[in-house]
Symmetry: C2
Subunit: 241 residues, 2 copies
């Protein structure tokens, strides 16, 4: 088994049944026998920051499970500006629409270096016919996507710029906090001010100014480049207007 995993990794091909994050992933509920139905290779890919996974409008030939790192979903507006509509982390599924034979609805771009599993559409289609266990997971994923979209709107596109930035920091810090040593103040890795602006619906300058202000006030402090320690209490106070 161990040998199998190493070999699989070596040729860039995943061993799903032995996956370390399977309980988080799309295939969480599958039984051993189900894996025999996978007859197409599921490839593991190492993706550097900035890499485009797919473009909006591309035919959806595969969906992706994020194993580590961070991915953004971008929607381009009529006037050419872009808006980030979702962030995806370990365990999340990117490009679900592929299983409906639809073109991708967004452009997916890597924000923090990521490891993803590329699952051909046909694999999910086949499993989808054979086992109801996958169905439930798929529904859960869709429902989760809707919830995230709605929360994105209410949390990150509502209220003052200060509050929005605070909520974004909380979101990132709380995600990083999971499985962290509890005593130390939670950290969160930020990204370009332009991206932050595109997430919050504000300009790059406003994003920069607000973060600078938080730093001066001691609400956050930069440990390494773009890695901030967050005073959660203070942020929560700001987030709630």
């Amino acid at each position: 088994m161990k040998g199998q995993r190493i070999k699989a990794a070596w040729r860039g091909q995943a061993d799903c049944s032995g996956c370390a994050i399977r309980d988080l992933a799309l295939f969480a509920d599958l039984m051993e026998q189900d894996f025999n139905l996978i007859h197409l290779p599921i490839e593991e890919e190492v993706l550097p920051a900035g890499r485009v996974i797919y473009n909006a409008g591309d035919p959806g030939r595969a969906l992706f499970t994020v194993r580590s790192g961070l991915v953004k979903l971008v929607q381009y507006l009529a006037d050419g500006t872009q808006r980030i509509v979702r962030l995806l982390r370990a365990g999340d599924t990117v490009g679900l629409e592929a299983i409906l034979s639809q073109p991708y609805a967004h452009t997916a771009v890597v924000l923090h270096p990521a490891l993803v599993c590329k699952i051909p559409r046909e694999v999910v289609e086949r499993l989808s016919v054979e086992t109801p266990r996958l169905h439930h997971q798929l529904m859960q994923r869709w429902s989760e996507a809707v919830n995230r979209a709605d929360r994105w709107l209410t949390a990150l596109s509502t209220g003052s710029a200060r509050a929005r930035v605070a909520r974004l920091l909380l979101l990132l810090a709380e995600a990083a906090e999971v499985g962290e040593n509890s005593a130390a103040p939670p950290e969160c890795a930020l990204f370009s001010r332009e991206d932050i602006g595109a997430m919050l619906g504000v300009t790059t300058e406003t994003a920069s100014r607000t973060i600078a202000e938080f730093r001066r006030q001691g609400v956050i402090s930069e440990n390494r480049s773009n890695l901030f320690a967050c005073d959660m209490e203070a942020l929560r106070a700001i987030a709630g207007e």
Copy 2:
């Protein structure tokens, strides 16, 4: 058949196989035999404007198909203010999360008097096990919900208040335009300025002011109370900043 439908309507119980909007609805792909699997009553309900269909947090015991009218999904924020995250029309499904045994994620409220079919969770669960035809429809519905959520964000929560209002009017008018006599300028039925504000993330006053301005400029004109004829070209120009 005709007699059956009338009888069904009379006791408030739907005959899905003979439904006039079935091709739009969740049960579009079902075959005759599938309907025999429905052993619980599907009730038709006539709902006046303002009626709450369910509240956020309620256990999801049923989902609803909108046959006519308009329904809003509302999300309440921490500070008590509310934000409207989606509008649902004829053919749309409300409360999909019920089939995942989850509590409702939003509060659903009738905006324009509506006719809805209340489908018990168990009916969908049962059908879901028996026929893959429903699966596909469910996925489509979920995917459509995500798309709507994303477009809502980019179209109605981005740009100036003028542009947002224009886009909302376009959205409503284009929906009404379907199956309309093409020559006449499309009309759209508006609702309270407060709701408009909650949809666009602006204040009631700004919503009112913007609509008043559009009226003065002749971009829209009020035929009846809250029923506006729209100059689509002019609106499109404003919508694109």
